[in-house]
């Protein structure tokens, strides 16, 4: 009895301590393995710091020179980072547009009581599967399948669809198309499931009353489903965009890091990765990272707003 009293008396003071203790591991690890490296990355971006063979050059403070170089027009007449940003955006769009259209459609199919689709579990299982596949292996697979002597060309030739093999990996349109296709396959199942959950979360009575008002299914979609689904849709959309900025494995492996043809499939992270190759150019890589950080931070702000909204 006395023990109880003591406990309840000290409760509000002493338990707070446990809150701190429980979150310490998270923050220690975060500080050492994320925040400190992040600050160091920013710090690096103001230095000349790279490797020349077995010699390390720098670090020498150079102010904003790395940033200036990042935005300098090259011999081919363009600014590399601008080109690679656009590549990244285009590659993302090629995958994301069909991804969201198809996912929306499938989510409506699956949730439609009128259609009453059978075998939902099977379809969901199959369409979600590519999401779990190792992206680098998936990309390597596409490289092997679509090479000039690969099975797809063999198939097309045996059908007589083409005489000469198609150089899928040598043309901008097909390389970007393949990257888009892979991203689409990897993500549309995931998006479908998320949007489905969103639609299922909408109060059934909303649909009922709309139908009683005589709305047809198109009207229901645009007047009820879409507005109520909007928060989830935006959340999924922006997270997909942030994922798009990080695009690396698929184009890297498909083009062997070259971004062929003519660097039209080089993404921002591939560009970053090039600086971290044999030259270990921490200065330039730092500058690219800072840029990436700014872009993702802006997009993150939207996500943050969505998930903290009451």
């Amino acid at each position: 009895m006395e023990k109880m009293k003591k406990l309840s008396k000290t409760k509000s003071i002493s338990y707070a301590k446990w809150g701190y203790i429980f979150i310490i591991p998270f923050f220690v690890v975060y500080l050492i393995f994320t925040l400190y490296p992040q600050l160091l990355t920013i710090y690096n971006s103001f230095f000349e710091y790279y490797r020349d063979g077995l010699n390390v050059i720098g670090p020498n403070f150079v102010g904003l020179r790395n940033y200036k170089e990042l935005f300098t027009i090259n011999n081919a007449g363009y600014v590399p980072i601008v080109k690679y940003s656009l590549n990244t955006l285009i590659l993302w769009i090629i995958g994301a547009v069909p991804q969201f259209l198809i996912a929306m459609l499938l989510a409506l199919f699956f949730t439609s009581t009128r259609l009453n689709i059978k075998g939902q579990q099977f379809f969901k299982t199959v369409i979600y599967m590519p999401n779990l596949i190792m992206a680098s292996a998936f990309s390597m697979l596409f490289f092997a399948l679509f090479s000039q002597v690969g099975p797809i060309n063999q198939l097309l030739q045996s059908w007589g669809a083409v005489n000469e093999p198609i150089n899928f990996l040598g043309m901008t349109i097909s390389v970007r198309g393949l990257i888009g296709l892979m991203n689409f396959l990897m993500w549309f199942g995931n998006t479908t499931i998320l949007l489905m959950a969103g639609i299922q979360g909408i109060d059934e009575s909303m649909f009922e009353s709309a139908r009683l008002d005589g709305s047809n299914s198109t009207q229901v979609f645009f007047n009820i489903t879409m507005p109520l689904l909007m928060p989830i849709f935006i959340y999924v959309f922006i997270t997909s965009m942030i994922g798009g900025i990080q695009m690396f494995d698929v184009p890297q492996v498909l083009t062997n890091g070259k971004g062929t043809p003519n660097l039209t499939s080089t993404t921002l992270i591939m560009y970053l990765n090039n600086f971290l190759g044999v030259s270990k150019n921490f200065g330039m890589a730092g500058a690219v990272s800072v840029l990436l950080f700014i872009i993702t931070a802006v997009l993150s702000a939207f996500v943050f707003k969505t998930i903290t909204r009451k």
Binding site: F22, L132, S289, L292
Partner: protein, 287 residues
């Protein structure tokens, strides 16, 4: 009149269903086709592969398996061992510590509770690539490249897993339960480990799977940190497959290596697909 309209509606429904099933079957086909080709090709010899397209398996599966397993540059058995170590340890650490952190900000009242929670949400979407430069610089400085633990330990701070755990706690853990346990005289760690963790089992299981899959497939950081053949993980090895190499003409072996790389995750998925798909939705925002 009425029956006519009824019949029209029925026909319309039949047609819509037909179209919908056709779309679904096409997409399912698209999802499976490429992997089927990978499997088929992993059963064919190099000469068979070069001589034409095939839709059905051949007899060279075991031969390709042997060649891939004993390849002279890609040490896939070691890669799989390393990948398993990293993926399993990360999965355990990330779920345990995320649950612990979520519990910390959910159950206890302390001054920065809200700030901490909001901070973690704010950093949730910042990709790890933006700190990669500093990370590998430190790794070089302290000679920590090729140390697998360097890929494991950072998973303790996983904001997205924290967010999931926090949502789950909010939905399932009544604070009275913690109170009751305190009255029984349990200390705070015991309460978490023996009372709260069992309640969180479903959430932990889902996150463990996702974390395992995430680490198993992770390519960017490992490819920058691991250059010792004995320490490389599977994706890094698969990445080098694409590199030009003059002893690599046996495509049967290449397909087999890809198959090996995705097989563990496939097996897990086939067994647990139901709960994995359920897990996809429960982690995201509630509308």
């Amino acid at each position: 009149m009425n029956s006519n309209a009824n019949r029209n509606a029925k026909i319309k429904l039949f047609i819509s269903r037909f179209v919908v099933y056709a779309i679904l079957i096409f997409l399912a086909f698209l999802c499976l086709f490429f992997f089927w080709l990978m499997f088929v090709n992993s059963t064919r010899s190099n000469a068979q592969l070069q001589s034409g397209f095939a839709l059905f398996p051949k007899e060279n599966f075991l031969k390709n398996f042997y060649n891939a397993w004993h390849d002279g540059t890609i040490d896939i058995p070691t890669g799989m061992k390393n990948s398993f170590i990293v993926a399993i340890c990360s999965a355990l650490l990330t779920t345990y510590f995320s649950a612990l952190t979520a519990y910390g900000t959910y159950v206890y009242n302390f001054r920065f509770k809200k700030a901490v929670h909001l901070f973690i949400l704010a950093i949730m979407m910042i990709p790890s690539q933006v700190s990669a430069v500093g990370f590998i610089q430190l790794a070089f400085k302290f000679h920590l490249t090729n140390k697998l633990w360097l890929l494991i330990v950072p998973s303790i701070a996983a904001p997205a897993v924290y967010f999931y755990m926090r949502q789950y706690l909010q939905a399932t853990l009544p604070l009275e339960m913690v109170e009751a346990a305190r009255i029984d005289g349990s200390n705070e760690f015991r309460i978490f480990n023996q009372i709260v963790l069992p309640i969180m089992k479903p959430a932990m299981a889902v996150q463990m799977i996702f974390s395992f899959v995430g680490s198993w497939n992770n390519y960017f950081m490992p490819s920058l940190l691991l250059n010792d053949a004995k320490k490389k993980t599977v994706p890094v090895m698969i990445g080098t497959l694409r590199s030009a190499d003059f002893t690599k003409f046996d495509m049967g072996k290449v397909y087999m290596l890809m198959l090996m790389a995705i097989l563990p995750v496939m097996v897990i998925y086939i067994i647990l697909s139901k709960s994995i798909i359920k897990g996809v939705t429960s982690g995201s925002v509630k509308g």
